[in-house]
Amino acid sequence: MPLVRGHDRRRTPFREFVLKLHARCNLACDYCYMYEMADTAWRGVNSTMSDRVLDQVCRRIAEHVDGASRSVRVVLHGGEPMMVGVAALVSAADRVRAAVAPLTIVDVTIQTNGVLLDDHAIDRLCQAGIRIGVSLDGDRQANDRHRRYANGRSSYDAVDRALRSLSLRPDHFAGILGVVDLDNDPVSTFDNLIQYHPPAIDFLLPHGNWTSPPPRWSPPGETPYGDWLVAAFDRWYDAPVQETRVRFFEEVISLALGGASRLETIGISPVATVVVDVDGAYEQIDTLRSTYPGAVDTGMNVFAHSLDELLGHPAILDRQIGLEALSDDCLACPLHRICGGGYYPHRYRAETGFRNPSVYCADLGRLIRHVVPRVRADLAVLKGRLEDGTPDAGNDASPR
């Protein structure tokens, strides 16, 4: 499979380690990149990460970090990570922390569908210093469109119960991830998620690419996903006092203000994430499973290869070379320093690989062209007030 462009240059060490502790899931969400899309390799691997693999992962992280980073992040993931049991989750966190202590602090989070997240589990995870992110798409109707058990039963009640408990533990609540569905009203979706008082929300675009377009995707010129995001953005942005963070929108604003992105879906900051599968195989970010079978494979693993060696893998480098990974079409577009070509898996086309604009190019443009004037107008008003000496506050000046 053609890579975009590989270059030997300064490499960015890994700072985020995604550990797939369990390869199966107790839900059967129909949009899942892991189990419902192009790559079915999960069928052939063990269901849980063994102690032997985990110990070797810890050794590899320790030798890679070696005191050079003050902090790194470990994400306990799956499949559904809660399926390994709370004791195993706490043990994994403890072992990674012990491996890199005392020079490096490990921020451990778990991303779960929430259905096994009862009060006991929440208490144990909180006590272990593990922050909890939950996936939910909105209200019951929104959730049940996709996030059901294999027998068709709704998962909503269990997740709702978990989120209500988690909302009482704000220090350990990482936030809510929701997948955009055009059938869900964006404002209602935001309002439904905000009721749990999450410190952060993010709206993920459903995975798709030029070869396998997203649901209800339409050719350039129409921007249904951009329109959805704009409505959600306005709901979030117009609050007199910010109610929560919305990660993707924050990154758009940051990039528009000349900053750098901290999220792989937008901007050109180097990706410093590695995924370790349950059998110890190093993988690229596993949302690439939505493109073609084997897209995540590196052919390297924790027993045979160090993380330093993995950094030299062409596919890893391609996520760290910024503008050079973009297509000529993207480089010719004035928005590329903000969108960064969009999310890497969304650029895929079977004939040409990843050197294409995002399949969401028009939608991203719609959002960016909405956000930038709003922010610019608000700051112009602020500057005017500073010059006039007029005391005031708020962001109500910008055109909608």
Binding site: Y237, V241, G259, R262, K383
Partner: protein, 56 residues
């Protein structure tokens, strides 16, 4: 195209003339917090890396 040439500054928002203290005038709004993040990054620069999409 030369990827090192920045030909799109007009797509960005000009922050010149603003300081952290000015942001008190924007209260706790989204835009204030966003500008605060940028100005703090300028004060305490660090290598920006992109985090994973599929976890909060």
């Amino acid at each position: 195209m030369d990827a090192t040439v920045d030909d799109n500054q007009h797509e960005l928002v000009d922050l010149s003339g603003l300081s952290l203290s000015d942001l008190s005038r924007l209260g706790g709004s989204v835009v204030a917090n966003s500008v605060r993040r940028i100005l703090e990054d300028v004060d305490r620069p660090q290598d920006a890396v992109a985090g994973w999409n599929s976890a909060m």
